[in-house]
Each structure stands twice: as structure tokens, then as C-alpha cells.
């Protein structure tokens, strides 16, 4: 990846290279790990406290397993960097943000103006997710 | 013969490569012969026509006749609505498809 990842975090980028899940599970001191699309995010949970970066692979924009991986990690309390890498398109970023991704390494460049419009577009959401947005039903009923 | 066809991007209309541009009428379609792949790649790049593809057709006195029924229906229009086809006044148009 030539370009720096697109980040929605204030901390310094983590510069340790991400290791594979197998390598991570066999090597207890790694702090960055890469999950392939079919790999189980829950396998990371026992050591989640030591991880600063999880990179989730999107081999094709059609492959949505990474959205669940992100939710699983955030629901378990993971607060480190969560990066979507691969075939990540501008129209998917808002959904990925909702699932807890806060860093993106797209294969093809993303038009910053289209991205900003996309992120700003919806004022209301029906569901609570990993982004802390208050769902419509809560706005209705307090 | 080989024809190049697709659907026009803004309207969705069925279009046929004429040798210099695109026409809605299969009668205008040109035999692309060995050049088909090259024209297809070029037109794909131009992004004016959606998913262009090459088909086989038979040359007839009335013009090219696509080999597959699906492309004949594309060329004419829905057989169950003759009024909405490209040949609404021709009662025999439907039999060209079958």
C-alpha cells in the first residue's frame, strides 16, 4: 500500500506490520494482526488487550464478512485501530464506520469530496451499531 | 457474422455497433468479424454502453438475424407487447423472433 491509510483516529498510526492470525496465535507478543475474510474474529478476543491494530481484509467489495468481524471486535470492547483493507469503495465507508472501522486502506483511491458527502448524508439511523449513534427509536421514545 | 451489442448507458436502450457508432436498429449492425474483441474493449473503456458483448448472427436479405432468441427479443422488443416493439405496425414481427 503506497498511500497512508485514511484514518478517523487522533492517535499516531501504529507502525508494527500486521501478522497473520495463525502467526498471532502462535506468537504472543505481536500487537498488530491481519484477519482474512473467512477468519474468526473471536479467536483474537482472549488477547485483545495487547492488540493496537486489526486489519480486516476485503478481497472483494461483495464479501461482507468483515462487517461482522468489526462488530464482534467492538462489542468485545476492542478500542484499538480497526482497519478495512482491500476492495473498499466510497459508498461502503459509512456502513463500515458504523460497524466500528476507523481506518481504511482502499486498493483504489477514494474521491475525498464524494466521501465527505457520503459521510455527511444521513442525519438519522434506524439501528444502534458500533458508532454510538442514537437510533431513531431512541429519539422517538427517549 | 459477429455483432457487437449492449445497452445505452443513460437510456438503457438496446444498441448495435454500426461500424462507426451505435444504432437502436439491428438492421444497421455491422459484421465486426475479427475486430470484435478490439472494438468491445475500446467501447468498454468509453463507458457509453453498458456491458457490450459479441454475438453470432446470420446475414439475411432483411439484415442480420441474431442466432439466439434472447438477442432477437432484444432486437425487437417484448413479443407479448407488439405495440411496444420497434416494429409496432408489422404483424409478422413476432414470427421473426421465434
Amino acid at each position: 500500500m503506497v498511500d497512508a491509510p485514511l484514518r478517523f483516529r487522533d492517535d499516531e498510526p501504529h507502525d508494527e506490520p500486521a501478522v497473520t492470525l495463525d502467526a498471532f496465535l502462535g506468537q504472543s507478543n505481536a500487537t498488530a494482526v491481519r484477519l482474512e475474510a473467512g477468519e474468526d474474529a473471536r479467536a483474537l478476543l482472549p488477547q485483545i488487550g495487547q492488540i493496537a491494530l486489526v486489519e480486516v481484509s476485503f478481497p472483494s467489495f461483495r464479501d461482507g464478512r468483515g462487517y461482522s468481524a468489526a462488530r464482534v471486535l467492538r462489542e468485545a470492547g476492542y478500542t484499538g485501530e480497526l482497519r478495512a483493507a482491500g476492495d473498499v469503495l466510497v459508498d461502503q465507508l459509512p456502513l463500515m464506520r458504523r460497524c466500528g472501522f476507523d481506518s481504511f486502506a482502499p486498493e483504489a483511491p477514494i474521491d475525498p469530496e464524494a466521501l465527505q458527502r457520503s459521510l455527511d448524508r444521513y442525519d438519522y439511523r434506524y439501528q444502534p451499531a458500533a458508532d454510538g449513534i442514537v437510533p431513531v427509536w431512541k429519539l422517538r421514545h427517549g | 457474422m459477429r455483432l457487437l451489442t449492449g445497452n445505452d448507458l443513460p437510456t438503457g436502450d438496446v444498441v448495435w455497433w454500426t461500424g462507426s457508432g451505435w444504432s437502436r436498429h439491428v438492421e444497421d449492425a455491422a459484421d465486426v468479424g475479427q475486430e470484435g474483441e478490439a472494438i468491445l474493449r475500446r467501447e468498454e473503456g468509453a463507458r457509453r454502453v453498458n456491458v457490450p458483448y459479441l454475438i453470432d448472427a446470420i446475414a439475411t436479405p432483411d439484415g442480420p438475424r441474431p442466432a439466439h432468441i434472447k438477442d432477437r427479443i432484444r432486437a425487437l422488443g417484448p413479443t407479448v407487447r407488439p405495440d411496444l416493439t420497434l416494429r409496432p405496425a408489422d404483424p409478422a414481427a413476432g414470427s421473426w423472433v421465434i
Partner: protein, 541 residues
């Protein structure tokens, strides 16, 4: 019925803006077709044989007169004067221009309509019993639950790129009028200890591998519904197959791991998800339910109907169903005139239906999965007037559930996936059997033009599948399916037929039925009693 508040409206308006942006990027060449396709599909826009096709969502098949009139207007202004009602209770326009779609969506949004998630690998428009709120046999109106699911599933951040499309149906009666068991998730509302809850069936579907769903949970209370469904979908999203689109539906996952293992995983996930606070409070269901309160029926409405006009009496017996309110009836409007195109209605007919809904049905209309229209709340004293107006418009064919009330997909006349035409065959069958349809009784005939089974052929008492046999259309006949509470999958009879050949084969089947049936037996009953072989002999013997 449901009315948007400021939040619903803002979301739909934002969606119009988003799609306008996406269409502009496509037209300017910024997006390739490969990138644009999933975006347009998620908003119901297909590219079919002759043009773009826009599928408009009709949530749980319910709409009001203003919405129906809007559909007529769009047919006139942007299409070629007609629309096609689908087996998912939606409406499709066949001749749409890409550049017009943002304006069409903007107009739909003014009457609280949209095309959100009417295609794509996401949770599709929720379907429901078309007699909801009118049927005597329901435990509750299923639509408030369907609306809760609609909101939960709209732009769901985790479930917008599922392995494959995902269809829900919600019913609340013993009689299944929505093919509930043939959906990815089917829900039947039930009561337990006085509390309303949902029985959850998972893993049904048609397509190339038809399957009947499994009961995964017999009772989920309203307080847990969203968490439970979230768990169901998460297990599917994580473990459903991505390597082969023909094996990617949830039915295949259940088939491969077994319903018990799927249930175990869902229950495990549910325990985690339930902690997240994603279930709306009961007040939200109550808010929605209040909008589905019964209309102001006239308690003094007379129950008697003058049957002296014999044509009216035939229609009354065939197309009008019992209502839970004395003095009222449910009117089925057939979109299957003999020789017509199943499910099609022109703009004038759509506008007339809007008028009839406003004048005679408390402003409500329904679309059925059998591609007909329902006026759910008609006073019996108005039935004759309604029938007269339907008759004038060619909408009073008295053929509900008869052999000419055919479900047919658009087939090769319109659809880019089809292998054979469905509509001309439906027209031939209807014409051949028009004189005998009442003698044959209930006989559900369903035609699909390809293996994707949009015409529900697996669920037909008689089902027909169009295939491509070396460049010519060929039709496989199957028998014994049902999408109702007696759900079953049809069995293929044997080698296929030409278009005329399959009509002849059906005649041999119906002749055998008439010769074999016992008093009171429907075709399906006789088939189940005597079995497949006598019919196979009749066809090929």
C-alpha cells in the same frame, strides 16, 4: 397504516440524494458498471433486456390511494403507461431511463415510498399476509412487526453485503397466504400465555435448490425480536458460503450444518447480542401498532348481498373473501384477465384501483404474492358497485386461485436472466382452460422462465420451468407443490415440452384429475391421495 414521521422522511429523502449522487457519478464515467451495479441494485434498479427496470418497494404489500395514484403517474410520465406487480408484493416499471431515476425516486418520496433494498444481497422488502388486519383467522395484525423489521433492516450496517439476497415474510394466521415457509426467514405471530410473539422459521427458499424452512425458535417475544434476528443474520453473514453464488442462500447453510447446529449458534450469538441494547422499547411497537388500528367500520353495515345478477354472484363466490368485521368483505381484484399478462396493470387501471381504495376500502390497498390486488375493507353493500367498476376496467375476472390465476415471472420477454418466455405460455394456458376453470376448482399454476424461480414454480400445484434447450424454449412440468400452510415442493414429471406441448400435457393432467377425484377434492388433494405415477402415466403413457 404506517405513516412516516420526520425521521423516516429524512432517511428516505437522504436516500434520494444519495442515489442522485451515485447516478451522476455513473453518468460522468467516474463509476464503472461493475462498481455501479451493486449500488443501483440496492436501490431496485436493474438493467433488463430492453431498458432499466425499477422495482418500487411496497412494504408488506400495503399502500394507500395516494401512493397507488403516484404509481399510475410514474407509469404515465416515465414508463410506457403500465407497471407489473410482483410475487414479492412490489411493483416494477419496465422502461425506465437511468437519468430519470433520481426524479422518480424524489416523486415517490413525496408519498412515503422508495425503492430501498428491493434488490441486492441485503434484506429485501418485507412481505406479509395480504389479508392482514382483515382476516378472521389472525391472532394479530402482522404488519407492525413487519414494519419493525423494515426499520431495523433498512441500511443495516452489518447486513448490506450478505452472501446473497435475504427475504422475510410475516404472517399471523393459521392459513399461510404469503408462502411464509419458502422464505429465508418466515415469521408467524403466535400467542403464548396471553403474550404475542414470533415463531421463527429459517432456511426456506425456491431458486435452483428449493427448501422448506425449519422452525428454529417457537417463541420470541417482541422485546427480543431484533436481537434474535440480528443473531440469525450474523451467523449467516459469518458462515454462509461466499465461494459459489448458487450455494450462498441461508437454506444451504442450514442444509450443510443442520438446523440444530444453526439453532445452537444463533442462541449463543443471541446471548451476546441481547446485551447490546439494540431492541427498541415496547413503546415503539405500540406506536406502530396504533397506526394499524382497524378503520372506523360501520357497526350497522348490512350483511346481506343481493346476488340476483348471476355474473356478479360468480365473482362474489370466487374473488370475495370473508372479513372479520360483520357487514364487510375482502375483495380480490384479479390481474389475470384471460389472455392477458399476469400482474400487469396499465396506468388507468392503477388509478382506478386508487379511486376504489379511497371510495370503498378506507383508503387501503394490498398487493398479493400471487400478483393480484386486494381491497381489504369493502362494505358488503358496496360490493356490487365495486364489481361494476372493476368489470368496466377489465379487472373483474372471477378466477382467484383457479388455473387461469397464474403466477408468471416476466420471463424472456423482459428479463436478462430468463431462458424462456413465461407470459405467452401463461396466455395460452389461460385461453385453453378458461371454459373449464371453475369445474377444475382451486388449482395454482405457476411459471418461471428460469431456474431462479421468481414465478414460484416449485410451489405450484402445477409448476412450469422454462429452460433453454439448444437455443429453443423448452418447458419442464412439475406437480404437487404448495406455498400455503400445507407447504410442499413440486416434483418434475420427466422430459420437457415445447410451448404447445406443455399446454397439452397440462390438459392430460387435468383430465386425469377430473376422472380420479373424489367429491370435494382439490387437484392437490387428489394428487396427494393417488400419488405421482397416475399423472405421469397420463402425461407420457
Amino acid at each position: 397504516m404506517y405513516r412516516y414521521d420526520q425521521y423516516d422522511q429524512a432517511i428516505v429523502d437522504a436516500r434520494v440524494d444519495e442515489f442522485r449522487d451515485q447516478v451522476e457519478r455513473r453518468l460522468s464515467g467516474q463509476l464503472s458498471e461493475d462498481q455501479f451495479k451493486p449500488l443501483r441494485l440496492m436501490n431496485g434498479l436493474y438493467l433488463q433486456l430492453h431498458a432499466y427496470m425499477l422495482r418500487v418497494a411496497i412494504p408488506y404489500g400495503t399502500l394507500d390511494s395516494r401512493q397507488m395514484r403516484m404509481l399510475a403517474g410514474i407509469a404515465r410520465d416515465y414508463d410506457r403507461g403500465y407497471g407489473h406487480f410482483t410475487t414479492r408484493q412490489n411493483l416494477q416499471f419496465n422502461w425506465i431511463k437511468l437519468a430519470d431515476t433520481p426524479d422518480i425516486l424524489a416523486r415517490l418520496a413525496t408519498v412515503q415510498m422508495h425503492a430501498i433494498q428491493t434488490s441486492g444481497n441485503c434484506i429485501r422488502n418485507i412481505s406479509a399476509d395480504q389479508y392482514a388486519g382483515a382476516a378472521a383467522d389472525e391472532v394479530a395484525d402482522p404488519r407492525p412487526w413487519a414494519e419493525l423489521i423494515r426499520q431495523w433492516s433498512t441500511f443495516h450496517p452489518e447486513f448490506s453485503y450478505l452472501p446473497r439476497k435475504f427475504k422475510f415474510a410475516v404472517i399471523a394466521a393459521e392459513e399461510d397466504r404469503a408462502a411464509m415457509r419458502l422464505h429465508d426467514i418466515g415469521i408467524r405471530l403466535v400467542t403464548r400465555d396471553g403474550e404475542l410473539g414470533a415463531s421463527i422459521y429459517v432456511g426456506g427458499g425456491m431458486g435452483r435448490t428449493p427448501m422448506i424452512s425449519h422452525l428454529v425458535r417457537d417463541f420470541v417475544g417482541s422485546d427480543d425480536l431484533m436481537s434474535y434476528l440480528e443473531a440469525c443474520l450474523r451467523v449467516y453473514n459469518r458462515y454462509g458460503r461466499r465461494d459459489n453464488i448458487y450455494k450462498a442462500r441461508i437454506k444451504i447453510l442450514l442444509h450443510e450444518i443442520g438446523a440444530d447446529e444453526y439453532r445452537r449458534q444463533v442462541e449463543e450469538e443471541f446471548l451476546l447480542v441481547k446485551q447490546l441494547g439494540i431492541d427498541p422499547p415496547r413503546a415503539e411497537l405500540e406506536r406502530i401498532t396504533a397506526m394499524f388500528a382497524p378503520p372506523a367500520f360501520d357497526p350497522a353495515a348490512p350483511d346481506a348481498v343481493d346476488r340476483s345478477d348471476p355474473d356478479f354472484a360468480v365473482w362474489l363466490d370466487q374473488n370475495v373473501a370473508a372479513h372479520k368485521q360483520p357487514g364487510y368483505a375482502i375483495v380480490n381484484v384479479s390481474l389475470k384477465p384471460i389472455g392477458g399478462i399476469p400482474g400487469d396493470a396499465d396506468a388507468d387501471q392503477i388509478a382506478l384501483l386508487a379511486d376504489l381504495g379511497a371510495a370503498y376500502s378506507f383508503d387501503e390497498l394490498r398487493v398479493t404474492h400471487a400478483q393480484n390486488i386486494v381491497l381489504p375493507h369493502v362494505a358488503k353493500r358496496d360490493l356490487y358497485a365495486v364489481w361494476r367498476r372493476l368489470t368496466k376496467a377489465g379487472l373483474a375476472e372471477p378466477n382467484l386461485d383457479l388455473i387461469t390465476d397464474i403466477i408468471a415471472c416476466p420471463g424472456l420477454d423482459y428479463c436478462s436472466l430468463a431462458n424462456a418466455r413465461s407470459i405467452p405460455l401463461a396466455q395460452k394456458i389461460a385461453t385453453r382452460f378458461a371454459d373449464r376453470q371453475r369445474e377444475l376448482g382451486e388449482l395454482k399454476l405457476k411459471i418461471s422462465g428460469c431456474i431462479n424461480a421468481c414465478g414460484h414454480h416449485h410451489a405450484g400445484h402445477i409448476g412450469i420451468l422454462g429452460v433453454d434447450k439448444k437455443g429453443t424454449e423448452n418447458y419442464q412440468l412439475s406437480l404437487g407443490g404448495s406455498g400455503a400452510q400445507d407447504v410442499s415442493l413440486a416434483k418434475i414429471t420427466g422430459p420437457g415440452f415445447s410451448e404447445d406441448g406443455v399446454v397439452d400435457a397440462i390438459e392430460r393432467v387435468t383430465d386425469r384429475y377430473l376422472a380420479t377425484r373424489e367429491p370435494g377434492e382439490r387437484f392437490l388433494d387428489t394428487y396427494r391421495r393417488v400419488g405421482f405415477e397416475p399423472f405421469k402415466d397420463a402425461i407420457y403413457g
